[in-house]
Structures are given as structure tokens and as C-alpha cells.
Symmetry: C2
Subunit: 421 residues, 2 copies
């Protein structure tokens, strides 16, 4: 397509999404659930078609020599397909956030004022290789009463369109407009540029992918963006920590999975406990082939550490590498986190009540934890049911974003003829 | 100043604001209240200095031939000064939103997950002539735990700096950093361009002023903007309305004040009740010299109406002008509002339960009302204590924005050594 054609194609998608969003916003809970269940059934019934479409994408990926990690994310297995369907059924089982009324109180004037939770409208999702995002994002946007425009990576175009066909089938069975979930069918990059600047048709953009993609989108968007930049997560072991809990948590936060955004990247240890705990922890990490990079004080205790540079404190390794710093006290720990962290997820291990209370209040991150692992920062673990992403922004939503983050609250006012004096 | 000097001046303001925001975020409630009370006292004590500074601004305004409405907004009276001080005392009396913990529940893993309300960080306020915004905005930002950078109109520069001196005095007395509230001292417009693009130092921008100013800022900002565009507010009189309530509300919504954003600009009347109610209402409006502009059906009932054009349905008059349309039913009323309205404030007058319920759900505006006047859409009337503005955005905050809108919620997680399996 020519770029003028892409502009008019995207405008047409936008117009249809806006029209559909009005119908989805007022759809009844049972209708939305019926659509979600029908989508899950369609995905189950079309397993073979989905595998074939995915094989097509995988062939292209291999021809182009895509890296193994990307091919891995692109691959749809039989189990992956079943999980996608199960995810939609779980979303159907969640409470409907739309229309929830809260805080309805009488005011001195006699009017009642409260808030009603309402959809955002049209949500644009921009993602990379994972085809399962197509089903997850469609399901979450629909349940929250929004229309969705999905723009997946060009590597997954056949898989995404096959999943989109199942989504449309579900919408149709429930009598909802099929345009409530649209998958952009061109792989041309100018389509993204259109999507993130169509202020009349798109209310919010959720980009999912690497930091480069998200920064580019944030800089060019004219529509609000709910974004997730990096996860430079910390665990701080206080000198009043329970030793065994500290070891268990520091191990789990780093080694349970290396490539996730809520994995610990820097360990901070109080100087009073460093000599006792670092040898125990280092043995665990080195046995698991985690490379350690420490400051001078840490390296004075553990010889097998490379020196950490200033850049290490700022780095999200997403790999078996850990930087370690010995700190003098809680203040230094909090200062380090607020200075070098990415406001994602940070934890303290301590039995000291006042220090736990201060850490919770003063660490400015989307999730702040006491005596548990950063790996719990996740929509499912938090009880949101599912997440469309994790926000490291400060307005609208912080942390895992589920159905509630895809809605907002308007004011409702009930009166009985009151007027303003 | 040269534009490079302005850039470094603004960067320096930003750096100081960021540093101050960390201290303000953890300041105790009593300390913040002490500062607010001390600010109010300083304003009271410096009445003469404030009047002198304001006289200076007014002289310049008159020399430049500024229009009367602007001069009116710029003027600080003895009563206005007392109101400013009183406003700060009212903010001191409000509950502290910072640190509020909600929804703390146990999860199957054994962790407790909840949310804590936290400040946004640094707030940039850009406003026009009204000097009282300096005190209001400073007070609200401080109570919500934020640092503020205030950029008022050049017309009010002396008044704003005199008020800012009182604000700094209050901060100093309470032992808080005086840089927690900074007033930009240059009237050069490039300072605004810097303010709205300093992503490292500013977390959100709240522009207060005309639509032109707000659109320009929204388009150029690289920082999130909480914005208030126009208020094209509607009252829909249903055929099952109580006649007397409908007359009272339609009168009040238009004529109590003409220049406010929550004033009704379009009246929608059900065709079954139009012949009965429009003569009564027209007499009220015409007696008050309100110009009426109607569609054909309305003009067939009331001769003294000019014809309304398509442009009228989209216009915020802010003046004694009212457009009137006769509609066939509730659906047409809702469609008209969602199509031509500005998602600000809209009201239905009806005794019909199901229609009221549908109107509340389906009208996509920041405030939706039943049987009361749009003029109630106001932070004080809603019990927010004060407002920094009214948001017509869909993310973060809709409607009047008070202390809560100047905060966000982070997740807190409490454990006892739990790790992820």
C-alpha cells in the first residue's frame, strides 16, 4: 500500500473502532461473557488452522534467519493454544468492572455524588512476536467495555490473523460488532505512526515489547500511552532481616527466571550482615552460573566477583548476571533504589517494623514489597486475573494493568430538583 | 534571557523541583498543614504588599489596553486576598491523601496485596491571568505531596511573585524546602516550551486557561497533560420529567452564571413535552435577555428563536445564548450528546427510573446527572474541597480534579518469606 492508502486504511479502522466502542461500552455482562466463551471455543475448534498459520510464520522467520529467542516467542504449541482459550474463559469469569458505582454520598446541597467505572473507549495495542497477545488483549479490552485495534509484529501476521478470525467469530455469535476487535492487516510500519496519532479514534495506546519500541512510540504518540519501560528491580537485605527468609527471597528473586521484568537485577546488603550472608548467597548464585558484579565492599568479602561499574546499577540484565552493593543503612538503600532503579518493583527483607513501614512509603516504585520476592509482581499473582502489561508510568495506572487499568471513573450526580444558589 | 539561558534556567528549576519532591512526598501531614497555615497567615499579613504588586500589574494591563474581562480576572481585591488565605486553610483541613492504603487482601500464595496512594512527583501548572491560582495550586500540590512549578500569565507577574513569597515563607516556617513551590520568573514564552518537555523533571502538566492555550500545550507536550477543553453541556428534558423541576433546572443551568464551563449550552426537549414547556422556558430566558437558537421544531413553537446551525450544537457560548433542539426520544438525546457534546457535564430531567439508569450509563461525559443542574459540576460542590481544574480527558482523572487527582496508587505487597514457585 502507498502511505496515503495506509493513512486512509487506518482512519477507516479507527472510525469503525469508535463506532463499535459505543456498542461495546453498553453491552451487558452476559453478552460480553458469551463472546469470550465463544472465542475460546473457536480457538479450541480451530487448533489445526492456528498451527498451520503459525507454521507459515515460522517458515518465514527461519528463512529470514530470526534469532532463536524470537522464534521461541513466535511459536504456538498445542498447549499454547489451549492456554489461550483458557485465558479467555478466565477473563469471562472475572467480575465486570464497567458500571461499578462507588462512594455515592449525600452533599450539603442535597445532591448525591459518586463515581461510575466506565470504559476508556478505543485501545490500541502494539506488540511484537507473541501471537497469544492477540487473544489476551482482545479479551481484556472487550471485558472492560473497550474496542481494540491490535497491531502485532510482522513476523506473526498469519498467526495473528488466524486468531483474529476466532475472536471475530466469538463476537458475531454474541451479536456484538466484529469491528470491536480489529487486527491491522498491513505490516507496513507507517501504520503504527497513524495508529498512535489518531486522537479522534484512539483513547490510549498500550505498547508491549522492548524498551526501544516503547520509547519510540512514546516519543511519537499524540495519544496517551500506558508504558512499561525497564525493570531494574532491587532486593535490600536489612541487618535486622530473618537470615533464612533473606536467602530464600534473594535466591528466588534472581534465579527463578532470568528474563522477566520483575527479576532482581541489583542486590543491596546492609554492611552489618554482608560478611555473614554474602558467602551463602554467592555460593547459591555461582552454583547456578550467575555472574556476580560487586562494589568494593562486596568484592572484599567475595573474591569471585567482577567489579560493578556505574552502568551496572542502571542495567536490566534479563540474564544470569547480578550486581551487588553493600550499603550503610536503610537511607542509603532507599537512595540507591530511587536514584538507579526504574520504579518497577523493589523489596526489603527485614523484621524491623519501622524500617518496613518507611521502605513502603519512601520507595517510589510501582510495586514495593516487604519480605517477599519481586517475582510476585504480576497481574495474576495480584489477583487481577490477567494483565495487559505492567505500567512504570506515574499517571493513570502503576504496576500490573488489568481490567481496572482499562477503565476510568466518571462522576454521577443524583438529584431531586436541586439547583445551585 | 537568551533561549539557551532560559533552557538552563528551566532545567535548574526542574532539578530543584525533583529534589524537593522527594522531601515533600515523605513529609508528615502536620508539617504540610503547618506550612499551609503559615502561608495563609503570610498572605493575611502581607495584604498591603499584595495589593501594591497587583496595582503594578493592573497599571501595565491598562497601559497595554487589555480587555475588561482580563483586567477583572487579574484584579486582587481585599476580599480576594482573604479568600486565598481561607482556601489554604481549607486545604489544610482536608484529609491527607498520601499513604492511604486500600484493598489489602491475602492471595492464595500467602502474600497480602493492596494499593497505597502516593504523590505524582512534580506538577507543572500553566495558567493565565488569575493570580489566586498561584496560592490554590501551590496548596493543593503541597497537600498531595508534590512539588510544583507554576507558570502564570505575564500580565500577573508581580502579583504572582508577591504571592509566591508568602508561599515560600510558609514552607520555610514548616521546615520544608522553599523549592517545593517555584514560580517561573521569566515571562518569555520559550519557558513554557521547556516546562512541558522536561520529562526527567516534570511528571504531569495541568494547563488552566482558554481552549487555544490548552490545545497548543497538549500538542507540544512530551509530559502527560491533565486537560480541560470545552464545556458544551446539555440538559435533556424527558417527557416523563416533573414539569416544575425541569423548569427550575433548565433555568438554573443556563442563567445562574453564563461564563462558566459547567453552564448549559444546549437544551434538548422531548417532542411530547416541547409544546407545553418551551413557552414557559422561553419566557424566562427572553426576560433575562438570553438569545435563543432553535431547530425547526423548536422554532415552530417559539417564534422568537433564531435558527440553530450545525455549528451551534458544537459551540461553548460562555454567554447568554442557548441552542434548543426537540428530540424524538431518549436515544436521540443520548446520540446528540455523545456526538456534539464535549464530554464535560450532561443532565437528564425525568421521573422514569429506566431512562435515568440508561442515561447515567450511556452518556460518556465526565459528569452525568439526573434531576439536577449542570452547574453543580465543581470540586467544592462534589466535596473534593478544592479543585486544580476539571478534566475532560479519559485517562487518569475525569471531571473535577482535587487532591486525589494529584496522586496515583502504587502496589504494596506484604509477605513473610513467600517465594514464587
Amino acid at each position: 500500500m502507498h502511505s496515503t492508502d495506509i493513512k486512509s486504511y487506518m482512519q477507516s479502522i479507527g472510525r469503525k473502532a469508535r463506532a463499535a466502542s459505543c456498542l461495546i461500552a453498553k453491552a451487558e455482562t452476559t453478552t460480553k461473557n458469551q463472546a469470550l466463551i465463544a472465542m475460546a471455543e473457536a480457538i479450541g475448534r480451530n487448533e489445526q488452522e492456528l498451527l498451520t498459520a503459525n507454521a507459515h510464520d515460522l517458515d518465514t522467520a527461519k528463512t529470514k534467519g530470526l534469532e532463536a529467542a524470537l522464534v521461541d516467542r513466535l511459536t504456538l504449541s498445542v498447549k499454547g493454544i489451549a492456554n489461550m482459550a483458557e485465558g479467555l474463559l478466565q477473563i469471562a469469569a472475572l467480575a465486570d468492572p464497567v458500571g461499578e458505582i462507588s462512594g455515592l454520598n449525600y452533599r450539603p446541597s442535597g445532591i448525591q455524588v459518586g463515581k461510575m467505572r466506565v470504559p476508556l473507549g478505543v485501545i490500541g495495542i502494539i506488540y511484537e512476536a507473541r501471537p497469544n497477545v492477540t487473544a489476551d488483549a482482545a479479551g481484556l479490552c472487550l471485558k472492560a467495555g473497550n474496542a481494540a485495534i491490535l497491531r502485532g509484529g510482522s513476523e506473526a501476521i498469519y498467526s495473528n490473523q488466524a486468531i483474529a478470525a476466532c475472536v471475530r467469530k466469538g463476537l458475531k455469535i454474541a451479536g456484538l460488532p466484529e469491528t470491536a476487535v480489529q487486527v491491522v492487516e498491513t505490516t507496513d510500519r507507517t501504520a503504527v505512526g497513524e495508529l498512535i496519532t489518531m486522537q479522534d479514534y484512539v483513547d490510549v495506546i498500550v505498547p508491549r515489547g522492548g524498551k526501544g519500541l516503547i520509547e519510540r512510540i512514546s516519543n511519537e504518540a499524540r495519544v496517551p500511552v500506558i508504558k512499561h519501560l525497564d525493570g531494574v528491580c532491587h532486593v535490600y537485605i536489612d541487618d535486622q532481616a530473618d537470615f533464612d527468609k533473606a536467602v530464600k527471597i534473594a535466591d528466588n528473586a534472581k534465579t527463578q527466571r532470568y528474563g522477566t521484568c520483575n527479576t532482581m537485577e541489583t542486590l543491596l546488603v546492609h554492611s552489618n550482615i554482608a560478611e555473614e550472608i554474602l558467602p551463602v548467597l554467592s555460593k547459591i548464585y555461582l552454583d547456578k552460573n550467575v555472574e556476580l558484579r560487586g562494589d568494593d565492599a562486596a568484592r572484599a568479602i567475595i573474591a569471585q566477583m567482577n567489579p560493578a561499574t556505574e552502568a551496572d546499577w542502571l542495567t536490566e540484565y534479563l540474564a544470569p548476571v547480578l550486581s551487588i552493593r553493600v550499603v550503610a543503612d536503610l537511607d542509603q538503600a532507599i537512595d540507591h533504589i530511587n536514584c538507579y532503579g526504574s520504579q518497577h518493583t523493589d523489596a526489603i527483607v527485614t523484621e524491623n517494623y519501622s524500617r518496613a513501614r518507611r521502605f513502603l512509603r519512601e520507595v517510589d516504585s510501582s510495586s514495593v514489597m516487604v519480605n517477599t520476592t519481586t517475582r510476585f509482581a504480576d497481574g495474576f499473582e495480584y489477583g487481577l486475573g490477567a494483565e495487559i502489561g505492567i505500567s512504570t508510568d506515574k499517571i493513570h495506572a502503576r504496576g500490573p494493568v488489568g481490567l481496572e487499568g482499562l477503565t476510568c471513573q466518571k462522576y454521577i450526580v443524583l438529584g431531586d430538583g436541586q439547583i445551585r444558589q
